[in-house]
Assembly symmetry: C2
Homo-oligomer: 235 residues x 2
């Protein structure tokens, strides 16, 4: 038997209702907060006992928006401009034989909620809101950290960070605790890799808002902040 049925044990709640703007790797926007909530069957304070002693944890999760019947041996990573192809196993692309994602995130705290069970407050996640999770593991520096590792094509194609011009009256519409995360997301340049049209206006859905912006050269300018049409439907 060459397969296995895995269960979802939890979901993550993030400020990304769509994939647009999700950081391309975990840790790139450390100010971005999220919460992991277990499914009822897995709500156990015992199961997370001792987890709070770790500063970082692994999430092993499902690329639930990227499940395909077929897989392609090669992919075009955004880091290479969206044109060059590399092998799917030499990439972190979501379009893989098994739709498994892997992210290390900072653990800010474990809350024992009276009705929802343990909630993991995390930072730096690169997951869409509602993404199902298969497993949570502690990050072990002695086994997981390789400071001298060679990062292949990712070493030479580091993505630029943009200057972000966010007019104060617009930024004021966002709650203070979400601002640093949003600024980090914008600075990472959420546009598709091959877009370079300074006149084009983009709309980033973020939490209950839509952030409208343009990009000219290295500068991103926020043009409007409006309430999303579906706001209030917090899952």
């Amino acid at each position: 038997m060459h397969e296995r049925v895995l269960r979802h044990i939890a979901h993550i709640h993030t400020d990304f209702p769509t994939k647009f703007g999700v950081p391309r790797q975990s840790g790139l926007v450390d100010s971005l907060k999220a919460v992991v909530q277990f499914l009822p069957e897995f709500r156990s304070a015992d199961a997370v006992r001792g987890l709070e002693e770790f500063s970082h944890i692994w999430l092993i999760w499902e690329f639930s928006q990227a499940v395909r019947e077929k897989w392609s041996p090669t992919v075009r990573p955004p880091r290479l401009g969206g044109n060059a192809r590399v092998g799917v196993f030499a990439s972190r692309s979501p379009f893989r034989p098994n739709p498994i994602g892997l992210s290390s995130v900072r653990l800010e705290g474990v809350e024992l909620h009276p009705s929802l069970g343990p909630l993991l407050h995390i930072a730096g996640a690169d997951l869409m809101d509602g993404t199902p999770i298969y497993d949570i593991k502690p990050y072990l520096p002695y086994g997981d950290c390789h400071p001298d590792a060679a990062g292949g094509f990712t070493d030479v194609h580091r993505r630029r960070v943009l200057d972000v011009d966010f007019p104060p009256d617009l930024l004021g519409r966002i709650p203070p605790d979400l601002r640093a995360g949003l600024l980090g997301v914008l600075g990472q340049d959420p546009r598709p890799a091959y877009h370079h049209d300074p006149a084009r206006q983009y709309v980033l859905p973020f939490a209950r808002w839509e952030i409208c912006f343009t990009v000219a050269g290295d500068r991103l300018t926020v043009r409007d902040v409006r309430t999303a049409p579906s706001a209030g439907e917090n899952p």
Copy 2:
């Protein structure tokens, strides 16, 4: 639907026919060699294109010897002496709601074999021979490496390394290219955590041999090396 069917894409070939002696984490015995071989459906040179530029890769695999119907919220990690309990999500124990293992290993080379397809030559793996693999990803230092991460209970309970006394005439029975790995495995103290009987003789199955040894204090002494009864049945 709260589950997903995942396929095995590859198997690993290591020198551990049983779980006895398998390092407790990846990277602990860097001299230990292994080979990843893809299942026929996934044998594609394109799928590993560019992987050789990375020095380390992730294996996401199945704890195939630890699949259980039920899961327990707490486990007793060997690093804590096998007595203290921690939450399963605060451990890397194989006995988890989903039997998923996560290991970073050093990639020594990618061989394009004419009939077996791409073979990944790796070092430092902590997997039993024949373990099925779900996914292979490049290790990205900028996202995966957190040198300052706090490692919880693993920080204070580093396992001692033993002095290994391996008589030269016995070591001579092991092929030269396997010796460093075997010495590393023995130095990590493969005994169960709660064993402290200097008279007890242990038998480590390693590749086609059985390594018989005793441990007194901080010293492990190899007593015999014999050919395993099942030797020759290389899967």
